[in-house]
C-alpha cells in the first residue's frame, strides 16, 4: 500500500476516533457528524489506497495476510458507516475506529511486498469471494462490538441523545448485522465452493478453512434459530454473538497459522 495514502487513512481514523470520543463524553451532536465526515474521508482514502495497490500489482490486492487486513479494515468502516446512518447510533464509532486502527497497525508490521498470484488464485472469483467474505466478517465484527457494549451497559439505564433506550438499539444492531453477516458468510461459502469446483473439480473438500467457515455458520444459524424460536435476545444473544465472532477470527486468522490446508498461502 502506498505509504502516504496509508498514513492519511490512519490519521483520519485516529481523528474520527477522537471526535467520536469527545462527542460521547460531552454529548455534542455536531461533533458526531464531524466524526462521521472524517471517517467517510478516511474511507475514500482507504479505497484509493487499495486501488493504487491494485494497479501497481496488476492484480486484485487480496492474496496475503497484509492485503487481507487492509480489506478487512476497509469493509469494517464501510459496514459501520452504513449501520451508523441507518440506525443513527454513534456510540459504536469509538470502538469500531479503535478496531480498524488496531487492524491497520498490525498490517503495517507485516510483509507488504507485492508478489505475483499463484495459478490457483488467478480467477475473477478471487475478487467476488474475498469481498463477500470480508463484508460478512465486518458485519460480524460490528455485531461483536455492539454485543460487548450491550453486556457492559445493560444494567444501566443508558439513553441515546434522541431519548431511545440504548440497549434496545444495540440489541437490534447485533441482530441486524448478524442477519447481514450470515447472508454474506453463506455467499462466501457458496462462492468458495463454486470456485473450488471450477479450479479443482470439487465443491467441498473439508479443508480446515472450509470446515471452520461451516462451524462459524452453524454458530450463527444457532443464534438465528434461538432468537426467532426461543426468544434468545439481549444477554444470551449477546454471548452467542461473541462466540460467533471468536469463530470468525479463528476462521480468518487462526486457521492460517494453526491448521494446515489449502488457504495456508495467506500468511
Amino acid at each position: 500500500m502506498n505509504t502516504l495514502l496509508f498514513n492519511i487513512t490512519l490519521v483520519s481514523y485516529m481523528l474520527a476516533l477522537i471526535f467520536y470520543a469527545v462527542c460521547a463524553i460531552f454529548k455534542k451532536e455536531g461533533l458526531g457528524l464531524f466524526a462521521r465526515g472524517i471517517l467517510i474521508l478516511g474511507l475514500f482514502n482507504h479505497t484509493a489506497a487499495i486501488f493504487v495497490r491494485w494497479v501497481a500489482a496488476g492484480r486484485p490486492p487480496f492474496s496475503n495476510m497484509y492485503e487481507s487486513l487492509i480489506i478487512f479494515s476497509w469493509a469494517l468502516i464501510l459496514i459501520y458507516l452504513i449501520v451508523e446512518i441507518i440506525y443513527r447510533i454513534r456510540i459504536l464509532g469509538i470502538f469500531v475506529s479503535i478496531l480498524a486502527l488496531l487492524i491497520l497497525a498490525s498490517a503495517s508490521g507485516l510483509d507488504s511486498s507485492i508478489k505475483p498470484l499463484m495459478p490457483a488464485l488467478q480467477s475473477n472469483w478471487l475478487v467476488i469471494h474475498v469481498l463477500v467474505c470480508f463484508i460478512g466478517y465486518a458485519a460480524f465484527a460490528i455485531s461483536f462490538v455492539s454485543s460487548i457494549m450491550y453486556l457492559i451497559l445493560y444494567k444501566r439505564e443508558a439513553f441515546e441523545p434522541g431519548g431511545r433506550p440504548l440497549n434496545t438499539s444495540l440489541d437490534t444492531i447485533t441482530y441486524k448485522t448478524i442477519t447481514f453477516g450470515f447472508l454474506f458468510l453463506t455467499l462466501g461459502i457458496i462462492t468458495g465452493a463454486v470456485w473450488a469446483n471450477r479450479a479443482w473439480g470439487r465443491y467441498w473438500g473439508w479443508d480446515p478453512k472450509e470446515t471452520w467457515a461451516l462451524i462459524t455458520w452453524f454458530i450463527y444459524a444457532f443464534y438465528l434459530h434461538m432468537r426467532m424460536l426461543k426468544g434468545w435476545k439481549e444477554v444470551k444473544g449477546a454471548w452467542v454473538a461473541i462466540l460467533g465472532f471468536l469463530a470468525v477470527i479463528f476462521t480468518y486468522i487462526g486457521v492460517n497459522y494453526l491448521l494446515p490446508g489449502l488457504h495456508s498461502y495467506i500468511k
Binding site: P119, W125, I215, F218, H225
Partner: protein
C-alpha cells in the same frame, strides 16, 4: 394415515427444533475435532503425537477420518432428515413462511446433491505427454474408459524471473541500528545516526586468493563464492574487510570497529510459476469435436466429464497431469445454493420490506 405419522412421537422428535439444536452442537464439535486432529495422516503421525492408547481410541471412533466415518455421515443424514421434516411440517407458501421454506428446502437439496456426489461421482487422474492421446483415466489402480479420446497438443509453462538486488546489512552491536545498503561500488554512504562512513570497493563473484602473493581474484564469472570488500571509516579508525555471502562468520581484513557487524546478502534470481496450461483436443469417433487450452481455473468439459489442469513435472515439460471428474451432484448442489440464498434474501430483506409497504 398422514395425520398418524405427523402426530407420532418419533416424527415429532425427528422434526423438532430440539433435535436440530442438538445436531448443530454435536456436528460443530465433530468439525472442530476434524480440524484439530490431522485427518488421514499415516499412523506414525498419531503414534508420535498422541501415544498408542489414544491412537487406538481414535481408530475405534474413526477420528482420523471423521468426515467419512459412518457416525458422521449418519449425523449429516439425520440433520438432512430433521430439516426436511421440519420444513415439511411447516411447509407454507405464505408471505410469512415462504422464505423459511426456501431456506430449509435449499439445505435439503444441497445435502441431497452431496449424497449424489458421494455415490455417483468419478474422480481420477490422467497423465499425458505432448503428442499422446488416451481414452482412459485411472481411479486408484483401476483404469476407466472415457468413450472418447483426449489428445495433448502442447504443454506450456509460464514463468517469471525476478532478480533480487544484493545488499549489505550493517548492524551495530551496542545500539539497535540496522541499515541496508545496495551494492554500489565506490559510493560513499553515511550511516544515519552515527559518525560511520562506508564504501564498497570491490565485488568478486567467485572469491579466491593466491596464497603466496595474497592477491585476490575471481575463479570464474559465476557467483559461486560472492564477496565484497568494504571500507569503513569510524571514529576509532579506518579499516578494510572482505565480507562473504556464503560464509557470514568469516570477516577477512582489518576491521575499523568491532562494534560493527557486516552481513552480505547475495540473492540470485528466483523463478515464479505464473501459469501452466495444456492445449487439449478431444477426438470422438475419430473426429475433432473440441479444442481448448486448459489452465487452473479454466477446465474443459465434454460429455459430463470435466478435465482440470492439476499437475506438471518440472523435470519434464512435455508431460501434463490432468484431473478427470464426473460429478452428477453438482447441478443439484448449485440449485440448492440458489434456493437457499433466495430464501435468505426474502426472509431478511424481502419480507420486512413488503411488511413495511403493507402497513
Amino acid at each position: 394415515m398422514k395425520h398418524k405419522i405427523i402426530n407420532s412421537p418419533l416424527f415429532k422428535f425427528i422434526s423438532s427444533v430440539k433435535l436440530f439444536i442438538f445436531l448443530c452442537v454435536i456436528i460443530t464439535l465433530a468439525l472442530v475435532l476434524g480440524t484439530v486432529i490431522l485427518q488421514n495422516a499415516p499412523p506414525n503421525h498419531y503414534l508420535a503425537k498422541y501415544g498408542k492408547a489414544t491412537y487406538e481410541l481414535f481408530k475405534s471412533f474413526k477420528l482420523t477420518d471423521i468426515y467419512r466415518a459412518w457416525w458422521f455421515i449418519a449425523l449429516l443424514f439425520l440433520l438432512a432428515f430433521n430439516i426436511f421434516t421440519c420444513a415439511l411440517k411447516k411447509f407454507s407458501l405464505s408471505l410469512n413462511r415462504i422464505g423459511s421454506t426456501f431456506i430449509h428446502f435449499g439445505i435439503v437439496i444441497i445435502l441431497a446433491g452431496a449424497a449424489v456426489s458421494a455415490i455417483g461421482s468419478e474422480r481420477g487422474l490422467m497423465g499425458l505427454r505432448e503428442g499422446e492421446s488416451k481414452d482412459t483415466f485411472s481411479i486408484g489402480h483401476t483404469q476407466k474408459k472415457l468413450g472418447f479420446k483426449l489428445y495433448l497438443k502442447d504443454f506450456i509453462l509460464e514463468e517469471e524471473n525476478s532478480f533480487y538486488r544484493d545488499k549489505l546489512i550493517v548492524e551495530f552491536q551496542d545500539r539497535d541500528i540496522t541499515v541496508d545498503f545496495p551494492i554500489n561500488l565506490n559510493k560513499e554512504y553515511n550511516i544515519e545516526d552515527s559518525s560511520y562512513q562506508l564504501k564498497i570497493l570491490r565485488y568478486i563473484p567467485d572469491f579466491s586468493m593466491d596464497i603466496t602473493t595474497k592477491e585476490v581474484f575471481s575463479k570464474s564469472d559465476q557467483p559461486h563464492n560472492p564477496a565484497i570488500e568494504v571500507e569503513v571509516v569510524s571514529p576509532a579508525g579506518e579499516g578494510r574487510q572482505w565480507v562473504f555471502a556464503k560464509f557470514p562468520g568469516i570477516n577477512m581484513g582489518n576491521k575499523a570497529s568491532t562494534n560493527l557487524k557486516l552481513t552480505y546478502v547475495h540473492q540470485t534470481l528466483s523463478t515464479n510459476i505464473i501459469d501452466f496450461k495444456s492445449k487439449l483436443v478431444i477426438f470422438d469417433n475419430g473426429e475433432i469435436v473440441k479444442t481448448k487450452t486448459i489452465e487452473v481455473n479454466d477446465p474443459l468439459q465434454y460429455k459430463g466429464y470435466t478435465f482440470y489442469q492439476a499437475d506438471y513435472n518440472p523435470d519434464d515439460l512435455t508431460w501434463t497431469g490432468i484431473q478427470v471428474v464426473k460429478d452428477p451432484g453438482v447441478p443439484l448442489v448449485y440449485a440448492g445454493f440458489c434456493t437457499f440464498i433466495l430464501g435468505l434474501l426474502f426472509t431478511f430483506y424481502g419480507k420486512p420490506f413488503l411488511n413495511k409497504k403493507g402497513r
